[in-house]
């Protein structure tokens, strides 16, 4: 039974909640013992001493008190556990979002953006069972049996001995059987997962199956998989449920042993009825918490797995903010990479690259995929930090400027722009919340987006659903361009889309680039080489190194790789 330290430390951030939640379990345990004592006394008095209700008013009045306390403490403890879980989740989400903002989009490690959303929503939700189920069960299993033993031993030590000896056997068997079943499940993994995976796959591909007249074959396969799956599952469950068998057997058998053993001593006159009956009442209560703990075992495992993802992200180091930040340049200045080394994991993308971009230049980065074009833009944006060397904007290194300040001076159009849930207008206004309608329209016009925006069913108020709704890739790119125009920043970085754009979008985007370049430093990652032809300077990257550097015409004449890229592109475009 594992206790995830990180989750426990998360609970410690709200010590009052944690303390109360655990303390109440202990109080409930005391009420349980009190209830058993009262019930035993009542039965004893009525059975052996011939007492009537009138003689027992004290006990009959005390019993509801114990019962109410037991119910209140248990209910309250469960309420506190729920509140604790809710508070921990809120706290984790707050820390995760804070940390995410500091990390930026490129430092997530292996998580990725879809993974980040999952961690924030489902991942955090996944730790709930630890606080609502496992921790209370653990607390109860730690307190209550101990408390009962403390009561039972003075009453009747042989019964206490039976309880004491059998108790550790339960978790021991549970763990042994759990491992056995786990191993079996691993061996049957394929059979267990094949059905679910194939079923969804076949449903999603049903049209394809029908195209090939294969739907009947798929149905037969599902019927067969259903049987295979059932057999495999039941093979695993036959073992897994042994833990239920053992748990029940140990608990009931121990109760039975106590009853018989106590009965025999009663018969021999070596014991009184009152302690004997009290022990009988307490025996099931002794095993109940162990049983609960057993059933929460999986919850703990699942929560630990969820915690892994959450804490993995929280542990990813964020760059330090400069202590005495320098101001960010507010007009185009020289940008430079000086001896920059950067790599993901082992493999370096750049092993000491130098590149200087004079103020106001229109630079196109070209090169085969994997050359490091996008990584270079991420470094310029400050979303990645060089492992050696530095990125400089004017006189100041990017690490000396506060990241928010630097980002205020740049506009960025990623390869696949993401539009926020909201209207077209809201998405553009993100860049400049106080922009007037005229300014909006001018930016849209410059980006070649005004025409289609106005043709949308609700124009500027059209809501963009998930992933940009019904807009094409080219249209999304132009909206993102409009946002860049509206921001009117001195530095613009643009990652062209690789996928095929319709001719209209392509032409408009290229027109927009020329407008965007005036009075700004513009760096374009050109996947489509006619954008490179527009640029004042082309830098050809290959495997993290600058291979050629010059104007389009010069490179066509003097750079073999560029000529090759250009030829392929021309053929494709033809």
């Amino acid at each position: 039974m594992r206790l995830d330290r990180r989750l426990l430390s998360a609970a410690r951030r709200t010590p009052a909640l944690l303390g109360l939640s655990l303390g109440l379990r202990l109080a409930a345990g005391a009420a349980i013992v009190a209830e058993a004592a009262i019930v035993a006394r009542l039965v004893n008095a009525a059975f052996l001493q011939g007492a009537d209700r009138a003689d027992l008013t004290d006990l009959f009045a005390a019993l509801p008190l114990a019962i109410v306390l037991r119910a209140v403490f248990s209910g309250w403890a469960s309420e506190r556990a729920g509140a604790l879980a809710a508070a921990v989740k809120e706290d984790l989400r707050r820390r995760l979002t804070e940390h995410t903002l500091a990390l930026g989009p490129a430092r997530m490690g292996g998580v990725g953006s879809a993974g980040l959303a999952t961690v924030l929503a489902e991942g955090v939700e996944g730790v709930e069972p630890f606080f609502k189920g496992y921790l209370p069960a653990l607390a109860q299993a730690a307190f209550l049996p101990l408390l009962i033993l403390l009561v039972v031993f003075p009453l009747d030590w042989p019964s206490g001995f039976v309880l004491l000896v059998t108790a550790p056997l339960i978790p021991m068997f549970m763990i042994l059987i759990g491992r056995w079943a786990g191993n079996l499940a691993q061996k049957q993994w394929r059979a267990l997962h094949l059905l679910g995976a194939y079923y969804l796959d076949a449903l999603r591909g049903l049209a394809t199956l029908k195209l090939f007249g294969a739907e009947a074959r798929a149905l037969l396969r599902i019927e067969r998989l259903v049987r295979v799956h059932r057999d495999a599952t039941l093979r695993v469950l036959r073992v897994a449920f042994l833990s239920a068998l053992v748990l029940e057997l140990m608990a009931t058998l121990a109760t039975a042993i106590v009853a018989v053993e106590v009965g025999m001593r009663l018969l021999a006159g070596r014991m009184q009825f009152l302690p004997a009956f009290t022990v009988l009442l307490l025996a099931p209560e002794f095993y109940q918490p162990l049983r609960n703990l057993g059933s929460q075992f999986h919850a703990a495992e699942d929560a630990a797995a969820a915690a892994e993802a959450v804490y993995g992200l929280l542990k990813t180091p964020a760059p330090d903010s400069p202590e005495r930040p320098k101001p960010a340049p507010t007009a185009p200045v020289e940008l430079a990479l000086e001896g920059v080394r950067f790599g993901y994991g082992e493999r370096p993308v750049f092993d000491g690259i130098d590149l200087t971009v004079p103020a106001g230049q229109f630079l196109a980065l070209v090169g085969p995929s994997g050359a490091g074009k996008s990584t270079l833009v991420q470094l310029l944006l400050g979303f990645l930090t060089p492992q050696a060397g530095r990125v400089r904007a004017g006189e100041a290194g990017l690490d000396e400027i506060a990241p928010e300040d630097w980002r205020r001076q740049v506009a960025w159009v990623p390869q696949r722009p993401f539009l926020q849930e909201g209207t077209v207008r809201e998405n553009l206004l993100l860049a400049r919340p106080d922009a007037s309608q005229e300014e909006l329209e001018r930016a849209a016009h410059d980006a070649g987006a005004l025409g289609f925006i106005e043709a949308l069913p609700h124009g500027w108020e059209t809501r963009l659903g998930e992933d940009g709704g019904g807009l094409s890739g080219g249209q999304l790119q132009r909206l993102a361009l409009a946002r860049a125009f509206l921001k009117d920043a001195p530095f613009v970085f643009l990652d062209e889309p690789t996928a095929h754009l319709d001719g209209e979008s392509e032409r408009r985007i290229h027109e927009a680039l020329a407008r965007l370049a005036t009075g700004r430093t513009l760096i374009v990652v050109a996947h489509r080489l006619d954008a490179a032809a527009l640029a004042g300077r082309v830098v050809v990257l290959d495997r993290g190194r600058v291979i050629c550097d010059g104007k389009h015409d010069e490179l066509l004449a003097g750079c073999a790789l560029y000529r090759e890229l250009w030829r392929t592109f021309q053929e494709a475009a033809a």
């Binding site: 009542l42 009525a46 009537d52 248990s74 195209l211 944006l381 990623p414 996928a499």
Partner: protein, 544 residues
Amino acid sequence: MKVQLRLLALVRPYLGWMLAAGLSGLFTVLAGVGLMATSAYLIAKAALRPETYLLMLPITGVRFFGLSRGVFRYGERLLGHEATFRILGRLRVWLFERLIPLAPAGLVRRHSGDVMARVTQDVETLENYFVRVLAPSFVALGTLALVGAYLWSFAPNFALSFAAFFVLAGVAWPLGAMRLGRAPGAVRVAAQARLKRHAVDLARGLGELLVYGGARERAAALGAAASESRRAEARLARVEGLGEGGTLLLAHAALWAVLWLGVGWVRQGGMDGVYLGVVALATLAAFEAAFALPLAWQTLGAVQAAARRIFELADAEPPVREPAEPKRPPSPLPLVLEGVSFRYPEDERMVIENLDLRLEPGERLLVRGGSGAGKTTLAWILLKFLEPTEGRISMGGVDYRELAGGEVRRHFAVVDQRPHLFAGTLRENLLLARPEATEEDLWRALEQARLAGWVRAQPASLDTPLGEGGAGLSGGQARRLAVARALLKDAPIWILDEPTEGLDPVTARELAAALDAALAGKTVLAISHQPLGMGFDRVLELGA
């Protein structure tokens, strides 16, 4: 209620398994009751110090119940899951059969995300129907009846107060708590949905939000949704605590009531005092069956919602009627569309209007149209996935209405912009088109699709595994595999539905060249918004 009845009808064939599991569950509870009752009797009787032989029977009883409860529990769990997996298996096969005639046109729902993923999850939700709903209800009813009858044999009052508290604890109280939890539950669901949306927006748009501003605002909005969820959860926790405490209170109140009645009854001489502990402990132990009911009520809601969605999907009207006595066309060509119009039932606007089209053997026709011009709709109509609202289609002179859908599709090979590749090996994906194809056939198709070189370079060659949706292949490779698969089918008419969409220009051009060569001599109908880089005999503008 109707959903309940249909669900019950669906699980009926497994009545035997379910009964066996239910009885095992009932015996588990009764063994618990028996253990406590006989133990109480044993101790009480022993305290009177009778002859030893008088204790032999209770001792045997204690041992029997002590040993049997575990066995019954094991049986309950195993038989219950046997029943569950039989039910689920039948449900999966039944649902698949129902969905076959609907796909693909009848399964497209707007704004509903991945319908298939949801329905598969719904099927899995039904896993809980028997184990968490039906079985506990059966066990609770059986316990109520049998333990009630046992208590009645001592005094009707015992049975009546037991039954009253049992129903309160198992039915009234949890249902009341559920009702209380409904409002905060709804708030929580809404807050979680908002949280999820903000999380996606923040995560996917993080870079842009940081550059353009708005990251803090999104983070704050997410935080607000998280706080609202926390507040709702805290309220729900109160309801849960109330529910849990209440059920416990009622169970033990029953103990108090039986003791109160019992002390009086013993005093009046209605019952031997030996039995006082017996009735008390039997009552308390029987509540085990009531404690399982709150979860049953909660699960019932989820199960019903899942079942309703499944039935709704399965009950949909197929978009195409199949003929009672299907004919066979003498030849697949010419393919003739006369005045074909199509409108989706929920739309006003015709997607395709009055289209005339004639495709002769060996002809290559390009149908051009922008987005929303009904290109995919046209492909679906040709494949008899949809029926035209007006007009008529014929294949080799036979009206489509007289042809079975499978017969129509036998004559088509299709390459579209999102070919579905199945998780499995390359070989399995190819054999889908022609299960009896030889190794040579496969390689010839791969050569023609210009994928053979790449496949040969893979360590596992044809047995290279593909992930879900063809993961592991680039866009161009996936498209080529789809072409190879279509080639294997060896059908006379080819439909190319935006075959190069979403590919980069170089890859698109290479694919078009491969198609151009591979389709020499075939009849081709291509549907695209752009010239494909292939030769065509005719071009038709759609929506023009």
